[in-house]
Symmetry: C2
Subunit: 210 residues, 2 copies
């Protein structure tokens, strides 16, 4: 049995505070085994009924990477068009992905049809399959930051298009596209907060008692 | 800027290994502010477009807790009926929730209609709202274990029923019902693995290259 002390808990809190969604990467490569080690850590995560529904796709082929970047550019242009006035002006200045600089590209899917776990815990809430994959991504994100590696989650993508670009099995649902690399700079504040897009609220604003 | 060392990284890995889905709780109470502190930590998590869609409901009222337990009993009976033979026999022996013993009950929702974050990053993947809430739960789970507190995620529930029992706003989507308390025992292996319900696979089994 393992116990943790105050020093560890303080550092863990610092990790939560300094874990960022990184969009500005240095282009120097990651250590060869870095992404595989992060995937291995992700697999220590909880999953509904021990279903381990996470499926990882390390994207190395330049043509596939380029197609993902092109899909982002297209989806981001559509997103800009949905804003108007001052909000549109501000959106246009935001840097929302590091796809072109990040040395590591990792797509993550949830296998919706695997029998691993024998369906336990998923009957009334089948979406817990996707949630298990998100828990794994969160673990990987924290582990990455602990070794100075930044991770950025890009969601401004067309899931069907990503599915086609990566030629993955039909039963896999697209969850996240992750940019991985060394960040240009470290910060304890979200980039969208620095850019005055949105501000962070207090936990009490989000808590009810019943 | 904060850097982490090898000792912290080793302990973080131990935290991932020893974080369990707890179903067997001691009944002694948690410190008064424990759940609020965990919620505050959860709010340090990443969220799509800084939307902070997490909504927490601390469930203290005995009648509401009883109604949740009754819903679990009903859903779990249905789940058992869906198995047959040896698998059904084995399912019947599993303890799948600590709802009756855990001193803390926390329901977690995603607000699907909040304008916080101005929709950024959610146009093509609106489900990233739910995913942001799962990331927050994962952070809380790790922080809890670091102070010796166990958390168990119960998904064998009817979301509509939980919504009604807790009388929360219509736009909130039910994500998780969490039991929180001190675990009876600590273990580095999932209970479903110990019970031979399912075994853990290697990360390489889940990784493709493209």
């Amino acid at each position: 049995m393992v116990e943790f002390d105050d020093i560890f808990r303080q550092q863990l809190r610092e990790l939560f505070v300094w874990r960022r969604d990184v969009r500005r990467f240095r282009t120097d490569p990651l250590p060869n085994d870095a992404v595989d080690r992060l995937i291995e850590t992700a697999c220590l995560s909880p999953s509904v009924g021990l279903s381990q529904p996470w499926r990882f796709v390390i994207v190395d082929h330049p043509a596939r990477r380029r197609a993902v970047v092109d899909d982002f550019i297209s989806c981001n242009a559509d997103a800009l068009n949905a804003y108007a006035g001052e909000r549109a002006t501000r959106y246009a200045t935001l840097k929302l992905s590091g796809l072109e600089q990040a040395p590591g590209h990792l797509a993550v899917f949830a296998d919706k049809e695997s029998d691993i776990g024998h369906g336990l815990g998923r009957a009334t809430m089948p979406e817990t399959t996707e949630y298990s994959v998100v828990a794994a991504i969160t673990a990987m994100w924290l582990a990455a930051r602990a070794e100075g590696i930044g991770l950025g989650w890009v969601s401004i993508l067309n899931p069907d298009r990503i599915h086609a670009i990566l030629e993955v099995p039909q039963s896999w649902k697209f969850i996240a596209y992750l940019c991985i690399g060394y960040p240009e700079a470290e910060c304890d504040r979200p980039e969208l907060e620095q850019a005055k897009w949105e501000h962070r609220r207090s936990a009490t604003e989000f808590t009810l008692r019943r």
